[in-house]
């Protein structure tokens, strides 16, 4: 009896040990990242495990490296172009597949738009290599840097499309209907009602597209021609020689770009969600 009376109300959700696993899991996910960031400030010049002291020397070397800046510029140009094109196309497609009626072939279009997500990256990479090289062999058309931009655009479209479409699906048609009832022209309804409401979706779609383009290694490695070295390709060319503390500094800088973009995208998306 005493035993029964003393029994505390149990937390029905608790499962023993799950919290520990969750924390271990986060630790595992972050450990390599944190270590590489930490060692980018290590003053020991050989890449042993011993941590001597703090230094910014490796960053100074990175910033003095002209090839690093060229590669960063190349990555920025390609990611900006690919993101721009992909976001515009994806926004149009998202409107076309949610506003306002279902058309025959819409499902097929949906599958088509998302298909780049289902193909393993290495296959996309070699297929684009084959495609562009056949094109230049048989027709003599050379795209130059356009090859990278077009290749990135293809796999950026679904990444931009999905958040924009999700946003549109959550919006409902009432406001647009109200604008139309008040005799707003379709163009004005779009400009003053749909677009502002859609902005967070477009923002997070564009952020994702930018990250996947900026970070892409596999596809760029096969598609890029001489002189079209993006940042990940440059890092790869360096790591093939040897690991250096400088490389840790470069990796840290790349990580910071994606982390900053993710956090900003996340905050925007969540603020709008709570406003709604």
């Amino acid at each position: 009896m005493a035993d029964l009376a003393q029994r505390k109300p149990i937390d029905v959700r608790r499962q023993a040990g799950f919290g520990t696993i969750a924390i271990a899991c986060v630790a595992v996910l972050y450990l390599p990242i944190v270590v590489i960031i930490l060692y980018s400030f290590n003053s020991a010049s050989s890449l042993g495990a011993n941590f001597k002291g703090l230094t910014l020397e490796w960053y100074r070397l990175v910033f003095a490296d002209a090839a690093f800046f060229e590669a960063t510029w190349m990555s920025l140009v390609i990611a900006t172009c690919a993101t721009g094109i992909a976001t515009v196309l994806a926004t149009m497609a998202a409107l076309g597949t949610t506003r306002k009626r279902e058309w025959t072939g819409q499902r097929a279009a949906f599958i088509m738009i998302n298909s780049p997500l289902m193909v393993p990256e290495i296959i996309t990479a070699i297929s684009l290599l084959v495609f562009f090289s056949s094109l230049s062999t048989y027709t003599g058309i050379e795209f130059g840097i356009g090859k990278l931009i077009l290749s990135h655009t293809v796999f950026c479209i679904p990444f931009a499309y999905l958040p924009i479409r999700a946003r549109l699906e959550g919006m409902g048609l009432d406001l647009e209907q109200a604008a139309a009832d008040l005799y707003a022209r379709p163009r004005d309804t779009f400009r003053y009602v749909t677009l502002p409401l859609l902005a967070p979706g477009i923002g997070s779609g564009a952020a994702l597209a930018f990250i996947v383009s900026f970070d892409d290694f596999t596809i760029s490695q096969f598609v890029a021609g001489p002189g079209e070295t993006t940042l990940p390709l440059y890092i790869w060319s360096r790591i093939r020689r040897t690991l250096t503390p400088e490389l840790n500094a470069m990796c840290t800088l790349i990580l910071l770009v994606s982390i900053a973009l993710i956090v900003v995208g996340f905050v925007i998306a969540n603020r709008r969600k709570s406003e709604k």
Binding site: L29, A49, A93, V119, I126
Partner: protein
Amino acid sequence: MAAHSDIVRQDLKTQRRLTLPSVAVIFLFGLVPLLIVMAYSFMKPAVYGGVEPELSLEAYVSFLFQRDLFDDTLVFSADYLLIFLRTALFAMVATLTCLLIGFPTAYYMATRPESQRNRWVLLITIPFWSNLLVRTIAILFIIRDDGPINAGLMALGIIDAPLPILFSNTAIVAGLFYSFLPFMILPIYSSIERFDFQLVEAGYDLYARRWQVLRHIILPIAKPGIITGSVLVFIPAFGAYVTPLILGGGNHMMIGDLIALQFRAARNWPLGAAFSMILMAFVLILLILQIRKNPREALHG
């Protein structure tokens, strides 16, 4: 009435026009290249890369057989098949490990107070979107012979000589696990997060034990998430290229490297194309199976 159907027709036309450019770009630069690869897989290799436009099944035949140099007979050769099987094994072990660690994590996240959940999701999302190449280099960095893990273990006196983890099968599987873990956690999380825990309370009222509740209530609820997560881990792990490239050191090939090799040093495009088609067929079968199992989730993955 006529006016109304005109409007409908006009709307549909606009919608098609809006969708067309995306579909056209992906068709031209996504699907057409794949079709070319498929066509190349049925041709003969040219000497310096590229193909001879001549129909041949040689590429597919050499997946399982080797042609004898002298008398041209076919001899069974398991080399490529073994790489394929090894890839499947690596991907499977990585998927299972992800599930084993990912499920409790997702469950724990989904049972946090609502205010904390977003923070957890962000915590898992950051590595998910961080540069894969850099993350893989980071692993390379910590498991090196003179890296922090080995140095730490040696300083503690647990081992005398560094563990040769790098360039081993373990390194590749660990790398796959680490790369794709968030793909497992997030879908399971979203399948549990919506769940109403009163059902669990009912379970306890009926004297169920914790593991019984887990087994008979939570697991069925999380099943769509588990399936989606497993597919999302298995597919990229199966087609992995960067992970074995960096952590395998060229000794332990997976199918992704094998394909890459045919388009680079080996210069046998048809063979690489045939391997790609085999890999693609495998992936498509998995995706179709998954969509059959839970049609609702599939469209949002």
